[in-house]
Amino acid sequence: MDKVYLDYAATTPLDSEVLTQMLPFFCDNYGNPSSVHYFGQIAEGAVENARESILRLLDAKGYELVFTSGGTESDNLALRGIVNSQNNDRNEFDLIISPVEHPAIDRTANSLEARENRKINKLRVDKYGMVEIDDLTSRLTPGVSLVSVIYANNEIGTINPVEKIAKECSKRGVLFHTDAVQAAAHLKISLTNSNISLFSIGAHKFYGPKGVGALIKKKGVDIIPHNSGGGQENGIRGGTHNVPGIVGFQRAFEKLDEKRDILFKKNMLLRDLIIENVLRTIPDTYLTGHPTERLPNHASFVFDGVKGNDLVIALDMAGFAVSSGSACKVGNPAPSEVLLAIGIPDNLALGALRITVGNKTSQEDVTRFLAVLPKTVSNLRKSK
């Protein structure tokens, strides 16, 4: 029987029409956008067209877009680019982040703290992993350089009240960044009237190619480049443009915009089917993340008495590709910091499972999965 892919939050299959749009930019229109000649002009035209289209789809008047290699690079560029533009001898916090960030933010913040002596502060979150506005405002002084809060969490799916957070930052003149890598694949986002200063996005979460993304920032927000080179992207991000990737990014985002509402509803039906069924059929199981304010395709749980890694292996062998909270391929399971931050105890946090659906997931796939999961969990519980 065919294997069933239920890990769309990790990555998605490239849309075949997107691939068709990308192909000419490998062998035919292979020019370097920085070149003066016509080959270069065609490539440059494609890059600029993509830039404009993506900004338009995000309703991002007054913003500019820096193409990057993906969400992680965008997050690095935002954090390092803003924090390093400030003096390092102040008494204020350089950076405030939530405790439920993707490692691209969390580890970058750690690195800024450890290697560059920056002061980092972490917010509190509630039991769903949502930032509390009161907690934010109590820490927010005008001298803070940057606040970064994940838009929608990759592990537990919770959507943060990003605009409220951004508004509090803006009131105090503090820049606000959000990692919207998961969110942008599902939610219709409009930046024009928002208080978001910087916004990270990656194409492979919405049926685009891997290795391409963007940092979108308000005009006038200055960042220090961390990839010096030939002056591409206004000198902010040196390096020859990934032209086929950028074209694919654009086309995937356009297609997402056309199909977003339909996909959203379809995903949400399957998600709710999974959540309802799992909680009903498997004892000692808890939903992680917010019950309703969550990504439409995202179901995540912790199972008492099961190791998430074992569960993922057993399910993979049964033909279902899912993920555990702490993605671990080298056999070092540690409880996920996100789950610990929302108050889940260590032993329970090791029993995490994430199921994320997408465009190719059928109701039959989900039904088959739900028929196998309870048996798999009870087998693993028995074997202890």
Partner: protein, 363 residues
């Protein structure tokens, strides 16, 4: 049509387990690769320490090439408790333990076999050189491998009927050279990877250095005496020595000196000439009889007292249910408490136990 059996192959990133996996794939089994992430004192990149990221990626590469899924299983906690702590403790008692025997018995055919069974596997497959045969009464027998130089029946001798019934050793009938050729024929990049030599968990500097690094209590200097009690010099710590050892004792004597005995109470090393290394027998405990019951002891068995020892003819008598005495046909020189005594009848492994005492006439 034969039902497609599910097997878990224990992968190490080395040539043997890789070829074992390839043979299973070729024979139509539904293969899943698992690698145990074992405890290590230093997880460095030295070749042949089977925990390293390099070994993991080699095994992953083999799995991808042969087209089966591969997973790494964290085993550090149980491996540390069951194997490493025992190794340290036994060493501190002056014994020379065999962690591979224990690891096979309790980790590979304990923790890993359980995991494989839970995941739906019918058999656990390893790249060990040994052979299992089932008789007409559904009893399982363990035999030496066809390649006498690579035979690993010594470290497999702790297995029981239940464990053997769920195990396949596809390499048992091959010579190592044939296995390397098979690896070539499957275009496995690990074909010419050198064999692993030392214990997997002690790191790149060997097990004595490992014991010293963990602050083994007995690694303190003491006296070296001969069998008459005459002081000949000083030793660097009893854990640095094993019975029959010649290296690192004293030089300048007319005849080479060998470790005869370790006196743990006095922290003294008793040494003497090779003529005094005459062990006439051993006692062993925690006996494991492959058949599940004590065999008819009124037979001429062979015994191996070390992995690389030559077998010697032996008579065995029971001391109690789990302890036995073995008297060698002629004295041998390298029997050591803590090592495994493995009993053979021709090429078949009959059982094994842990050497408790060595019997000798000299001292």
């Amino acid at each position: 049509m034969v039902e497609c059996k599910n097997v878990v192959v224990a992968m190490s990133g080395g040539v043997d387990s890789s070829v074992a996996a390839a043979l299973m794939v070729e024979n139509g089994y539904n293969v899943t690769g698992l690698m145990l992430k074992l405890w290590t004192s230093e997880c460095d990149h030295e070749a042949n320490a089977c925990c390293t990221p390099e070994s993991i990626s080699l095994a992953r590469e083999v799995a991808t090439q042969l087209g089966f899924p591969f997973y790494v299983i964290d085993t550090k906690e149980v491996f540390k408790q069951v194997v490493v702590d025992h190794f340290i403790q036994a060493s501190q008692q002056g014994r020379t333990p065999n962690p591979c025997y224990l690891c096979n018995q309790k980790i590979r055919w304990g923790f890993l076999l359980d995991k494989a069974t839970t995941l739906g596997a019918d058999f656990l497959v390893t790249g060990h050189y040994g052979q299992i045969k089932k008789d007409t009464e559904n009893h399982f027998h363990l035999f030496k491998a066809n390649d006498p130089k690579k035979d690993q029946s010594y470290v497999l001798s702790g297995l029981n009927q239940e464990q053997l019934s769920k195990t396949l050793f596809p390499l048992g009938k091959y010579l190592k050279s044939e296995v390397r050729d098979l690896a070539d024929s499957y275009s496995l990049r690990v074909a010419r990877k050198p064999d692993s030599q030392d214990l997997c968990f002690v790191g790149s500097h060997g097990y004595r250095s490992f014991l010293n690094s963990i602050g083994s209590e007995t690694a303190i200097n003491g006296l070296i005496r001969n069998q008459d009690g005459v002081v000949l010099g000083e030793h660097t710590g009893l854990t640095n020595f094993t019975i029959g050892q010649r290296k690192g004792i004293l030089s300048g004597f007319k005849d080479p000196l060998y470790v005869l005995k370790k006196d743990m109470d006095k922290n003294e090393l008793i040494v003497g000439g090779s003529d005094l290394l005459n062990f006439t027998g051993i006692t062993f405990s925690e006996a494991n009889w492959i058949a599940g019951t004590v065999p008819d002891l009124n037979q001429n068995f062979d015994i191996k007292v070390r992995y690389k020892a030559n077998p010697v003819n032996v008579r065995i008598v029971a001391i109690d249910e789990k302890s036995f005495r073995a008297d060698f046909e002629y004295p041998i020189r390298d029997a050591t408490p803590g090592q495994i005594a493995v009993i053979y009848l021709n090429n078949e492994v009959i059982g094994s136990g842990i050497i408790e005492t060595v019997l000798c006439e000299g001292i």
